[in-house]
């Protein structure tokens, strides 16, 4: 046995101790020539001896801890209010922090579930704002296939991916997400299938028999987790084309996550070999694994020479594109990271306030117990022993709070999940942080975080009281009540209260700003009236009788006719796109104007195209500015179009617009039919971007053609019926036409509400935190003021005895409290001012230094805190001078 540290001596086991004593008895018996019993007697009570030996090893820490725990428990039982209050405060802090960590861990800290995720990047072209290319990396499929026929130099491997909504078009139909991916996809991510096989290059050749990989979830849900699922075929329908007989070749592992958009089925993209006859024109996403030692920045430089070639393949006027190569994780979380940090900052402040509050309570308790501690010090408890007692108390508080906090966290997480709108397929982008809620749970990682938080908090809040105890024990024992005592250094407690007030104000100010911003978001003029408008989306799967465009049109036209005839219907219209404020499905940068040469005129942003039937504008009450609305005769008559004001400004600035003919043209397939539309009217702008806070974009409403329709139709009905009645009515109408048809029915208001889900979530969380902080600050101030009054009872008594009025006395208490509040508020404003940069990006229509918001916060703070000192001031005013003096 070599040299061991003083602190890491190995404790012998009980068996070893027993054996050591038995050996002793045996040796004694042998040596003295007596029998075992006699030798045993000589040793005394073996059990007792062994117990003493054992105590040598455990005594110091375990016994002391038990003692401390016992002692703490006794003192809590004497003052349950203190213990309960402190535990509750901490439990709320722990609960909120833990629940938020569970939600945000995946956004901020947890590495994505791929091999060597640091080398995975999202790669593609970025477009200028409003251009056809989005602000996240995309790549045109045609360019991807032609330019990257071999892996580009910075990468080890590249894979394309896309995402569609599709139906499982067979018995037990189900809407799922399908993701066409390159056969290299899983290898790029470093993921292996759990069952079956991965895609092979032969699967990924244009025209090869279709195969698919299904997620673990789908496998369990649809195939009962049976291995026999491998080899079965499934009929899919993308809404544009059926994909029959897809053979399932593998199952993805249970923890698999798609990099950007969720999917249930992976299909080979079959983009290659390049065939000029195949219509390309979809913007897809590409992921790549960087070669070792290549940074994203370097990769961008290495790709630069290919840019002209890529751009040449893009449709004309897809200007201002540039390469972007960034970590895949960034792409996954997007803007959510910023929101996540904001929430983490807020909950950290709340936690800090809770800690300060409990430390303050403990200091107050120490002041009460100063005599007891003095006695303990006098009878020989060492300084460290006293300090340890304080630490043990805070750790036990923290531990108890941690247990309750875990329950709070569970409850909060459920609340968060309930606050998030029901998962809408493909609705990732605008849900932000909320899209990560589905996967959030209190798992080992979260528990470890909570445990660490509990320990650190326990240490932190015990530290100050422990130090003050050590310092106090340096002073003479049994001081008189009015001399120095552990908690009697008021400076410390005032500092704590001021800090608390400052932090609270920062939170209050932040939440006031977010509430104002939310108010602005919710009250954004959308440009239309969505109240009492109910929408129904119907998908005609190709497995049914709607193979041909005219069958589909017949269905939708009948649907519209019946909806119009239904009780309560004011007006109804069909459209190809979701109802406003959702953007139209297609857009183009290329609108031909009759009489103008193509390619003339300044480049303009993408113009959205929405196909509508007459009564669309009446249904949404979109006001007309020029010309006329669509008439019934326009549907099936000469093609007519209506522009919004932005589109009019872009296309016909300062010119006559009514009666002009236009032809929307461009990359997006649907309206690329060489059709000329006559402009008959101009409407005001309505919100039609990705979020309601996006400024309205130019848009052209073209009249739908009769006798032909795609697979998806969106019916909007303005009705006088209630939402539930309208829902039932529409469902019945759809069922009359086809009882097996899947439809989704929703109110426009409901859709708008979902669009504001993230700001709502953030604002309500922050407001809850701020109110909690305010409550804690009030409690802290109350306790300090009460303590102060208690401390100065004799002085106050003397003052009253010599003629001070109760009013003067109360005023003194209040004015003193007002000074701390002012100090805290000033500090808080400074804190808030520093924190605003982080906040500004989340604000809409309000500046981070908005005077109204900050004034409101300061006023609310001052009001609540002054109310908190009312009772102590009242007490001070009613001190009985005789009793106060006698108490000495």
């Amino acid at each position: 046995m070599g040299m061991k540290g003083r602190w890491f001596r190995r404790r012998p086991s009980d068996d070893e101790m027993q054996e050591e004593l038995e050996a002793h008895v045996a040796m004694r018996a042998e040596h003295d020539g007596v029998d075992q019993a006699a030798a045993r007697r000589r040793l005394g009570n073996i059990l007792h001896t062994r117990e003493s030996m054992r105590r040598v090893w455990i005594a110091e820490w375990w016994d002391a801890l038990r003692q401390d725990a016992h002692y703490t428990w006794r003192s809590w039982r004497r003052r349950p209010a203190f213990a309960l209050g402190a535990i509750l405060v901490l439990a709320l802090g722990f609960g909120s922090s833990t629940a938020l960590f569970a939600v945000l861990d995946r956004v901020l800290f947890r590495p994505p579930p791929y091999a060597d995720p640091d080398r995975l990047v999202s790669v593609g072209l970025l477009g200028r704002e409003d251009g056809p290319l989005s602000d996240t990396e995309t790549i045109l499929d045609r360019a991807y296939v032609q330019v990257w026929s071999s892996t580009p130099p910075p990468f080890e491997a590249v894979a394309a991916m896309d995402s569609w909504t599709c139906d499982i078009a067979e018995e037990r139909p189900e809407r799922v997400r399908c993701a066409p991916v390159d056969h290299t996809f899983l290898r790029v991510l470093g993921v292996r299938v759990a069952l079956g096989r991965d895609f092979v290059p032969e699967d990924d050749v244009r025209g090869a028999p279709r195969v698919g990989l299904i997620t673990h979830g789908l496998w369990v849900r649809r195939y009962g987790a049976l291995p026999g699922a491998i080899g079965r075929t499934v009929n899919l329908d993308t809404g544009i084309a059926p994909i029959p007989h897809v053979r399932i070749v593998g199952v993805l592992p249970p923890d698999f996550e798609m990099p950007v958009e969720a999917a249930d089925i992976l299909l080979p993209s079959q983009l290659r070999p390049y065939d000029p006859r195949v219509p390309f024109g979809t913007l897809i996403m590409a992921i790549a694994r960087l070669k070792p030692d290549v940074t994203p920045e370097r990769a961008k430089q290495m790709l630069a020479p290919q840019l002209p070639e890529m751009l040449a393949l893009l449709p004309p006027r897809s200007f201002a594109a540039a390469w972007s190569v960034r970590p895949l994780h960034d792409r996954r979380v997007g803007d959510a990271a910023r929101v996540a940090w904001l929430l983490i900052g807020a909950v950290a402040i709340l936690m800090l306030i809770a800690c300060v509050n409990v430390a303050n309570l403990m200091l107050a308790r120490l002041a009460e117990r100063q005599r007891e501690f003095a006695v303990r010090a006098a009878i020989g408890a060492g300084k460290l022993r006293l300090a340890r007692l304080a630490l043990a108390e805070s750790l036990l508080l923290s531990l108890a709070a941690g247990c309750i906090g875990l329950l709070v966290a569970f409850a909060l997480l459920q609340t968060f999940i309930a606050m998030a709108p029901a998962a809408v397929p493909g609705a990732y982008a605008w849900l932000g942080v909320l899209s990560f809620l589905a996967g959030a749970s209190i798992d080992i990682r979260v528990c470890v975080f909570a445990g660490a938080l509990v320990l650190v908090t326990g240490m932190a809040i015990g530290l100050w009281p422990a130090i003050s105890l050590v310092r106090a024990s340096d002073r003479p024992a049994l001081p008189s009540t009015r001399s120095a005592s552990p908690g009697a250094r008021p400076g410390a407690r005032f500092a704590l209260v001021t800090t608390q007030i400052a932090l609270t104000l920062a939170l209050l100010g932040g939440s006031a700003l977010l509430l104002r911003s939310l108010w602005n978001v919710v009250n954004v003029p959308l440009g239309f009236d969505g109240a009492r408008v109910v929408t129904m989306t119907a998908w005609l799967s190709s497995a049914t009788k709607y193979q041909a465009a005219d069958h589909r049109a017949a269905f939708f036209e009948e649907l519209l006719a019946r909806a119009r005839g239904a009780a309560g219907t004011v007006s109804a219209a069909l459209s190809d796109a979701p109802a406003p404020p959702r953007p139209p499905l297609t857009g183009t940068t290329d609108v031909l104007v009759e009489g103008r040469p193509a390619d003339s005129g300044a480049p303009h942003p993408s113009v959205g195209i929405r196909e509508v039937t007459p009564e669309f504008f009446e249904t949404f009450r979109i006001p007309l500015v020029e010309g006329r609305t669509l008439h019934e005769t326009d549907w099936g008559g000469p093609p007519a179009a209506i522009l919004n004001q932005s589109a009019r400004r872009i296309l016909f600035a300062g010119e006559r617009v009514l009666g002009r003919r236009i032809q929307p043209h461009g990359a997006a397939g649907r309206n690329n039919s060489g059709q000329w539309y006559t402009v008959v009217g101009v409407t005001t702008d309505v919100r039609n971007g990705q979020s309601v806070t996006d400024e309205p974009r130019p848009e052209i409403y073209v009249v739908a053609r009769r006798g032909t329709w795609g697979r998806i139709g969106r019916l909007s009905v303005r009705t006088t019926a209630g939402a539930a009645d309208a829902n039932a009515l529409l469902r019945r109408i759809a069922a009359e036409l086809n009882p097996t048809l899947p439809v989704t029915i929703d109110t426009v208001d409901g859709q708008v509400e979902r669009l504001t889900a993230q700001p709502r979530f953030v604002a309500s969380l922050l407001t809850a935190f701020a109110l909690l902080a305010l409550l804690l600050a009030a409690a802290g101030l109350y306790s300090v003021a009460s303590y102060l009054v208690l401390q100065r009872r004799r002085d106050i008594g003397v003052r009253i005895a010599i003629g001070a009025s109760p009013r003067d006395v109360a005023q003194q208490v209040v004015s003193e409290a007002a000074r701390w509040i002012a100090a805290g508020a000033l500090l808080g404003c400074a804190l808030g001012w520093m924190g605003t940069r982080a906040l500004q990006s989340q604000l809409y229509g309000v500046q981070a230094l908005d005077p109204a918001a900050w004034t409101t916060a300061v006023l609310a703070l001052a009001l609540v805190l002054l109310a908190a000192v009312f009772r102590p001031a009242h007490h001070a005013a009613h001190v009985d001078p005789i009793a106060a003096l006698r108490a000495e």
């Binding site: 040299m3 061991k4 050591e20 040598v56």
Partner: protein, 108 residues
């Protein structure tokens, strides 16, 4: 170990002194103390082992299971570097104390 109760201090000194002569097991230590003191001191065996473990825990002695010459497994203790220093200190203070006590006794 600032506050050392006297009986324990004496036992500790005897143990350390015994081990200074070489590694030994508990019984050997007890025997050695008895023999060296010509049976004047009889070790309280019930407190010998807790004392040994206390010293082990404090790092003054190390313990190791070995087999004795007559084939018995025994826990054998040996002095550590810290233990040697400790022995020197305790011996000194003990001699001082004994000297003091002797003088007082002479006086009385």
């Amino acid at each position: 170990m600032a506050h050392q109760e006297n009986p324990q201090a004496a036992l500790e000194l005897l143990i350390l002194k015994t081990l200074a002569a070489g590694p030994n097991h508990g019984f050997g230590i007890a025997l050695h103390i008895e023999e060296a003191s010509s049976a004047l001191l009889r070790v309280e065996e019930g407190s010998l082992y807790p004392a040994l473990h206390r010293l082990d825990k404090a790092g003054f002695i190390d313990a190791e299971w070995t087999v004795t010459e007559n084939g018995r497994r025994a826990r054998v203790y040996r002095l550590t570097k810290d233990g040697r220093k400790r022995l020197k200190d305790v011996e000194e203070s003990w001699t001082t104390l004994a000297e003091g006590v002797k003088r007082v006794l002479r006086w009385a």
